[in-house]
Subunit: 337 residues, 3 copies
């Protein structure tokens, strides 16, 4: 059950309201006025709750449902026991998102600038922003409207941030231009120097890093993730790309739109990813690779060469997924002899 200590919740929401919000059809209109208490999982839903059933594999859980109501598909509704109110829609996952957004709202920081924030005189802050305690904003920074900058964030000179962005507490942003509707999580480090050295007479000399980080719209950057700025070119993150926690993105990387970069991935410098690339957890990419649009790299894999668009690969160095599985079973069989 959602903990009302943490989340605001609408009360007395009726099945009729839910049908409307989720574009679903309530199969028994006699129940339209019944109210639900909470959204829950199929296994935890009690007699006052609603749950969502969208996967044929969960048929057994469906048979044992104790919920008051269940949102599902035309195809799956047959598995819901009698007595449970059924709402039929095309995609219960979308319905789930819509109902959550309707019923619960995060408790948002109020607009206003905390007195302890240090904002350079030349910085421009849009309307409706919340600037938290101990925030430091450098010279010539520009922040759009309705942004939430949480406590202890440091935004260095010259950065631009669009509208409706949220910067989690204790994050660091430098040399960056960030679009609209982005969410940078707590502790993310964006815009520090890339890792580039030249060995001269036995000493590593830093290669000056003079680029920027350019982040599109609707991007998420996870907690404690690091994105280095470019050396001469920029590091670029395309619109709608989602980056999980503890990811490393090196200088000059260029990620396309809608990519999913799972936790602890490391992308070495100057890689180019197309659109909708998926990198599983702990994947590593060597430098200067091209990863085609729609390619999927399984967790823990390592790429040393380019990957074609749409390919599904695994292993270090990675090979087509089926080849990897064949190698695994070959090894298992033959090593036992």
């Amino acid at each position: 059950m959602v903990d009302k200590h943490f989340y605001n919740a609408k009360e007395n929401v009726t099945l009729a309201q839910i049908a409307e919000v989720t574009s679903a059809v309530l199969t028994d209109m006699a129940k339209a006025g019944e109210t639900i208490r909470d959204i829950a999982t199929m296994t935890s839903a009690g007699a006052e709750d609603i749950c969502f059933f969208y996967d044929r594999k969960s048929r057994e859980k469906a048979a044992a449902l104790k919920a008051k109501a269940c949102v599902t598909t035309e195809d799956l509704k047959q598995f819901v026991p009698e007595g449970v109110a059924v709402l039929v829609c095309e995609d219960p996952k979308i319905a789930f998102i819509k109902l959550n957004e309707f019923m619960y709202a995060e408790k948002k920081a109020a607009a206003g600038i905390d007195g302890s924030a240090k904002i350079a005189a030349s910085a421009k802050i849009g309307t409706g922003c919340s600037i938290g305690a101990n925030v430091v904003i450098g010279e010539n920074v520009e922040i759009g409207n309705n942004c939430v900058i949480e406590p202890n964030v440091v935004i260095a000179q010259g950065c631009k941030i669009g509208n409706n962005c949220r910067i989690g507490n204790n994050a660091s942003i430098a040399y960056s231009i960030i679009g609209n509707n982005c969410y940078i999580y707590t502790g993310a480090r964006i815009g520090q120097d890339g890792f580039g050295f030249q060995l001269i007479n036995g000493q590593h000399h830093r290669i000056p890093q003079l680029g920027r980080v350019i982040i599109g719209n609707d991007v998420e950057v996870g907690a404690n993730t690091c994105i280095d700025r470019g050396a001469l070119d920029d590091t670029v993150i395309g619109d709608g790309t989602r980056i999980d926690n503890l990811v490393q993105i090196a200088h000059n990387d260029k990620l396309g739109r809608g990519c999913i970069i799972v936790s602890q991935v490391g992308i070495a410098g100057s890689c180019t990813l197309g659109d909708y690339v998926v990198l599983g957890g702990q994947v590593g990419l060597a430098d200067h690779l091209n990863i085609g649009s729609g390619a999927q790299v399984a967790a823990q894999s390592g790429a040393m060469r380019d990957i074609e668009a749409g390919a599904v690969v695994m292993g270090t160095p990675c090979v087509p997924f089926k080849d990897y599985m064949r190698q695994v079973s070959f090894l298992q069989k033959n090593s036992k002899k």
Copy 2:
């Protein structure tokens, strides 16, 4: 030698005192009044120091000891040269911990609330707490007694923290309920949204994350480690579990008691770990796995399936440890032909 610049140290500690503190027997009572200067390793211990000898493999180091005294077992004392005072106990590792705690104490932050801390009026702070500079504590937060909240920590609205906890500087805590005697290290991120998206018409829509993070008693969470809150259920960390630095724990994970999670492990969403599970460094677990109690996963391994209680596994995908070693030697032999 312990640097007195950093650590408080008791001086003139006698071997009699040490015997008492460590539940050891001093074999030569004539030496009971002799004092030691410091605790040291077997190789670095000088004529005024005491060291600990608990592993038969260190017999050669024992033969070359220059220490004033050595704590060891009945079985190993034969390897200690004459002239070194011997204290015999059952487990020198435990004795080591006890003597350290007796001789040295970390310099603790004094109780009190720094004037620059921002504490919401509705928050409750127990007695004997130290709240550092620039700490931000949100509405309705409850903190128990004798806690140390180091500088620049942000604790968001509604969180509860038990007694005797320490929160390292620059850490972020949200949507969390934390037990007693926990140590959250610097830069840890606890309670941010899990990584959940639904692709709708070519755009990733965030799935609302409405759960919490529930942390038991005696838990450690390492520096810069991330623990995401649950989606509908909670993310749960059991009593006595120890989590190293830079670990990723995703939404809805449930870890049992006494688990050891080594640095840079990544646990995908909705995994369940039993008690005393050990995950070596950089291990990755795919989502929705069950890892039985006492299972041990070797460093860098990747699990794609459930692991039985007590199993010891290695590789990606992981197999029983012996099988992995057989695969390794098979490959080494046959690839050279």
Copy 3:
């Protein structure tokens, strides 16, 4: 093109000046007075820019150059089209660094102590330092001259930092002695307890961690990287070693001089690395290993045994690079049968 919003830039720099700064010879002295606008890559350089050509593989790019000038070697200058001014030098990579340092300067924080910084009365701060907002500096800390301590940094009691160091914002430093000319990046965690436990009656008891972190001169520690302090001995980082982002260095590790530790590497406790060791991204080292000077471990590899000086290894457990590649091709061939 370098964004003047973020970087200061000298204007009207002549080719004669560039030749002097880079120790290069301008082949056509008639062009000595021509000015360049910017430093750019071979592909992005326009008619007012200078670029650097140092790799035979880039011959095709050279043929298509649109730059005003190009710095290259005696050997490669033949591939530069007529009309592009050529500057010949021994090592264009060094020339690139020198010209960047000449033409662009990072906008540095002005010296001075922000009024919101909390500095213990017993701390000593050298001359010319910049201490940012909300910095917390503990008792008996000593900081040398010309250091930049960015906002929200916490330096715990007793630490010493040399001259000309930069500590990135939101970093945490404790139990550490740091040399000159070091750059600790944002969010780095240095000096926290190592991960050491002893299981006693079913409970993990923390083994006291009483050592320090000793960092030499000219060291870089990347963003969100963690370096634990020693248990009894110290954790040591040698002069000139460069550590990337999100790296884990455990208690008692001793790294030599000039090592390169790439992002997301994890080094377990009590390892010793010689000089100029290179660990590729996501490498893992088991505890108590000796890695000889000049050894190179390929990305994602895992070492369970010592590695000889100069060895080049790959795989988990790692083997000589050539053996690994032979294993890979053996598997690919034989698994397809």
